[in-house]
């Protein structure tokens, strides 16, 4: 090991992308292809009184118009949690982007005209938009039949509460009662969009009873499973292939519209392609970051040690559960943060509303929760008169500490990341007028899951890697060549990679959960080792040497100490082939296990009650606040990360740089605004404001390498999600340092900053009384612990 890893290498997909030659799904065509369009509800909650597509079907150039009547009558659970969703609306629409019908026509214009010819009448139903009111008795229900849905046995649901998770340890009530200082705060975050620049696109093509679906998916295997299930066809007749993917950020995780387009192509008897408009990318991406309400109550000892934390978290689920039921657990873990807290009582409720469904967008719940926790942490530090860095130093976990469910921490970089980020940003040094600094720490998990790979070396001496892994642009799949090369003494450029095709590669979870290098990397290493064993056996015979005396380097096998006793790997491959064999390897490796823990006091245990191979990180931001307008410019961010062993420094730094820029949007400008009618008011890039290149600050990336004993290849941990987690918290703390005002609404828009400066806070400060202890019983009524916005809001300062 170490011949090739840790060195920069050119990405195999780089030239095609940089020169514009790379094909994305929306670029694909097929002979005779029709253009598909969806009819969506355009209203947030309504009963369908009448739906008639006869006129639309007879329009010129229209090949097919399909509705719920044309697909199996069943509800599906896209991530296996709650079967609450039909492909096409049946009787009721629950958010404005819900698909009612689909049209295939010769041209996009003919398809649009057919959409307009569909006759539909609705009866509007009461809207459910406020997560707190949704939990109160008597609230209208998003799903009348919630109790009848098939669901995972761990899910605790009640009315509009789609799921509930708790993380509980010790006795928070007693510890809060005995604490020297108790601080309570409420933080509220708006819904955020992943906004990949490539919109969703799907091209489905049938050949006999087999369908090939080209989809801009981050999770082709999950898509395949769900197409098969919803259309009631065997999985082996479904092939999902992904072209180059133009970003996903989780928005293309889960199963989206593959089955709709497959059904449409079958009805149209020809290939059909659907490419989303930017507006559709906002109203029906099916996957957004949760709007959240985070109430925190923390007890301190007078020397600034956290003794207990209670948290009540509401997550806006949107209309369908998708993969959200598991995310409340993650939010609870994030609400504890990377801190040593003996008594914790965290409770997250996932609440159905008439909004676009939420789900696992890059580090789901992480940026919002960490922003709340880290703002809260600075407030705690202030209450005991400690510098924010010193306060964190006293409370961050170190080796041997216990996590929220008593997982034991290995040696890790949490403390060193804090000190290094503080050093890099110049913590404590004088600043130019108007500038200020904030700091935030966080933690995230790595995600063990199944993945497989085939590696072979052909007689030309070059390698091929076949993986089920999905390249969403991060370079993680491209870097698999580096791992195979490392095992085989070859350069990454010596490998071709076949990927993101469910008929070619073995199962993989997809580009989700920061898992590609962690799991697919392990599979490739194992497959390459099998090849290596075969190479060594053959080379030993050719060189008449003992196996143990051979080394693989620079594309050749040589005897240690006698470099001229050497054969190239191509010569070995040729010899093996001539002898009737081949150099093939397959691997899946053994997934790392989760650390031991005790979640017996928790409910809604769906897999994240302990964090496997946790990453730790700290970011410090230097900002300038325009005090007259509230406009915040981020000038510099120091981002220091323990992601375990850093295998591909260029790729890892790319993830961190991009993550920081994305998170600046989350912090300052990105957030969906809903009208009282339940429709998005800024479903376009002019008013949903992503940061531009001109907004990107200087980003100083650092690594603290603390290899995980039970982690990914060579001690690696996940890197894709962590970088976006702490940025908003650091910026929020910098704004508070500059203005003396705490902005408790995310995004911290200029107007919100301006209001906070005028009012001392933004009116969302205090949840209004001690938080109710969580009832441990799974059957507690949903409304029992809902926290009212109290009369004392805003009076803390």
């Amino acid at each position: 090991m170490t011949a090739t890893i840790e060195r920069p290498f050119p990405r195999a997909d780089g030239p095609a992308k940089a020169t514009g030659q790379a094909d994305y799904t929306g670029d694909l065509t097929a002979p005779g292809m029709a253009h598909g369009r969806f009819l969506v509800a355009g209203r947030a909650h309504a009963r369908i009184r009448r739906l008639d597509v006869t006129a639309a079907r007879t329009r010129p150039g229209v090949f097919a118009v399909i509705t719920a009547a044309d697909v199996p009558d069943r509800l599906y659970a896209s991530s296996g949690f709650v079967a609450d969703r039909p492909l096409f609306a049946r009787n009721v629409v629950r958010y404005e982007g819900e698909v009612v019908a689909a049209v295939a026509a010769a041209t996009p214009e003919a398809a649009d005209a057919a959409l307009r010819a569909i006759e539909i009448e609705y009866e509007d139903l009461p809207l459910v938009l406020d997560v707190e009111r949704a939990l109160q008795p008597g609230s209208p229900l998003v799903h009348e039949n919630w109790a009848g849905y098939e669901k995972d046995g761990e899910i605790v649901a009640e009315g509009n509460m789609a799921a509930r998770s708790t993380i509980v340890k010790g006795d928070a009530t007693a510890a809060l009662g005995a604490a020297d200082v108790v601080v309570r705060e409420r933080y509220v975050a708006d819904m955020i969009h992943p906004v990949p620049i490539e919109p969703h696109a799907i091209l489905a093509e049938w050949s006999g009873d087999r369908v090939t679906i080209h989809s801009s998916s981050q999770v082709p295997f999950a898509a395949r499973t769900m197409v098969a299930e919803t259309l009631e066809i065997p999985q082996h007749r479904v092939r999902v292939v992904v072209s180059h993917l133009g970003g996903g950020f989780g928005g293309k995780c889960d199963f989206h519209y593959e089955a709709h387009v497959a059904a449409l192509a079958r009805a149209a008897r020809r290939p059909v392609r659907v490419v989303f408009t930017r507006r559709e990318e906002f109203t029906m991406p099916d996957k957004v970051g949760h709007g959240m309400v985070v109430d925190l109550e923390t007890g301190l000892s007078s020397d600034g040690r956290i003794v207990a934390r209670r948290g009540r978290i509401l997550l806006d689920c949107g209309a369908y559960a998708a993969d959200s039921p598991v995310l409340g657990q993650i939010a609870c873990m994030e609400a504890v943060g990377p801190y040593r807290i003996p008594h914790v009582d965290l409770d997250a409720r996932l609440v159905y509303t008439n909004r676009v469904p939420s789900g696992s967008v890059r580090a789901p719940t992480g940026p919002q929760t960490c922003w709340a926790v880290e703002g809260h942490t600075d407030e705690l530090a202030a209450r005991v008169g400690l510098d924010p860095v010193e306060f964190r130093r006293r409370n961050l976990v170190t080796a041997g500490d216990e996590g929220p469910t008593r997982q034991l921490f290995e040696p890790n970089g949490a403390l060193r990341a804090l000190d290094e980020a503080a050093r890099r940003i110049g913590w404590g040094s004088p600043l130019p007028a108007g500038e200020s600094i904030g700091i935030a720490a966080g933690w995230w998990f790595s995600m063990p899951s199944a993945s497989g790979a085939f590696v072979r070396i052909d007689a030309d001496g070059r390698g091929r890697i076949v993986t089920g892994a999905q390249e969403n642009g991060t370079g993680a799949v491209m870097a698999l060549a580096m791992l195979a090369g490392d095992e085989l003494g070859m350069a990454p450029e010596d490998f071709a990679i076949v990927y993101q095709d469910t008929d070619a590669g073995p199962y993989d979870t997809g580009s989700a959960g920061s898992q590609t290098t962690f799991n697919a990397g392990r599979a490739v290493v194992e497959a390459a080792r099998e090849v290596r064993t075969k190479v060594i056996a053959a080379a030993a015979e050719m060189l008449e040497a003992a196996h143990a005396d051979l080394e693989l380097r620079d594309g050749a096998i040589s005897v240690v100490g006698s470099p001229d006793r050497r054969v190239t790997i191509g010569a070995v491959a040729t010899q093996v082939q001539d002898d009737g064999g081949l150099l093939l390897g397959a691997g899946s490796g053994t997934a790392p296990t989760k650390p031991e823990h005790d979640a017996s006091a928790c409910v809604g245990r769906l897999g994240f009650e302990a964090f496997a191979s946790p990453t730790f990180f700290c970011q410090a931001a230097r900002v300038k606040v325009d005090r007259a307008t509230g406009v915040v410019r981020v000038l510099e961010v120091a981002a220091v990360n323990d992601i375990g062993r850093v295998l591909n420094p260029r790729g890892a730094a790319g993830q961190i740089t991009g993550g920081v820029v994305q998170a600046i949007g989350t912090a300052l400008t990105e957030g969906t605004v809903y009208g009282a009618d339940g429709r998005q008011r800024n479903a376009a890039l002019l008013d949903y404001k992503l940061p531009t290149a001109a907004d990107a600050p200087t980003i100083d990336v650092g690594f603290i390498e603390a290899p995980a004993a039970n982690g990914g290849p060579y001690g690696a941990k996940g890197v894709g999600e962590p970088p976006i987690v702490p940025t908003a918290g650091a910026i929020g703390n910098a704004i508070a340092a500059a203005t003396g005002a705490r902005v408790r609404r995310l995004p911290m828009t200029p107007e919100r900053v301006w209001r906070a400066m005028r009012e001392g806070s933004d009116g969302a400060a205090d949840p209004g009384g001690p938080l109710a202890p969580a009832a441990a019983s799974a059957g507690e009524p949903a409304s029992g612990g809902a926290v009212p916005v109290g009369a004392s809001a805003g009076n803390r300062r």
């Binding site: 406009v631 300052l668 008011r681 376009a684 531009t692 907004d695 107007e751 301006w754």
Partner: protein, 314 residues
Amino acid sequence: MSHRWAAPTALADALGVLATDPGARPVAGGTDLVVGSRQGRRPLPDSIVAIDRIPELAGQRADPDGSLVLGALTSHAWLASADAVVSSWTALADAAAIVGSPATRGTGTLGGNIMNASPAAETVGPLIVAGAVATLVSSTAKRQLAVAEVATGPGRTAATAGELLLTEVRVPAPPEGSGSAYVRLEYRAAMEIAVVGATAFVALDGSAGGDGSAARATIREARIALTAVAPTIIRATAAEERLAGRSPDAAAFAAAGQAAAAAASPISDVRASAEYRRAMIEVVVARALSAAARRAAGEDVPVPASRWAHGQEV
């Protein structure tokens, strides 16, 4: 429905199509017309006359009386960098320099910006305070109209049917001892739209002392235009009047900002509440006045003034 398309290379041919085809609309850069239709704001017209190859609409010239004549096809990129604009009609350069992105500035035109009649159109405030005059032509007539009178409401202009072409804009020479600046509130550093914007023109008497400072001068005349606070871009006359005869200092600028804000009736929308908009009018007016006065006194305030005024990059 049949779509029609013409790409004439002579002005007369374009006017001919516009006169005979009632559905015809000109398109210059297309950054409003085409982008807007893609976003579903307004369908493309049935008949399109591409005017980007008409030489009579291109180019710029300085007239003997000192005024600058800008062809309708003048790009934002040109306005942002031409020496004449930067030195004498600086607010116009400020405005053009912050339109969209480099691509938008290279493609979008002055004529399109004016005729699109958006209340947020960047170049219009600077043209209004400069007293610019547009030339509108039809196949039979030609008339001059103050730029201030071209837009009559969002997306609506004073152009009559058949008079659909703006050929050029004449910007009179600024008086001695004057300066101008355009400042907009912006939430991010590029690809923005004005939440509120202000153009200030300040002419000083007694001019600058030897040290270049404006402090001992008095304001002979001030003109202020407000962007994105009303259905069209408006003058803030009450605020202007308060400034005449006063010394160009922070107190005067703040008072003018307050007067401008008091006279405006901003709306609440997804970009800002009315309350915040009103407060921000005060800020951008005061900042634009400050930048304009410094320029009038011969100080160098870099283009675009927005960056400078918001203290982000001095």
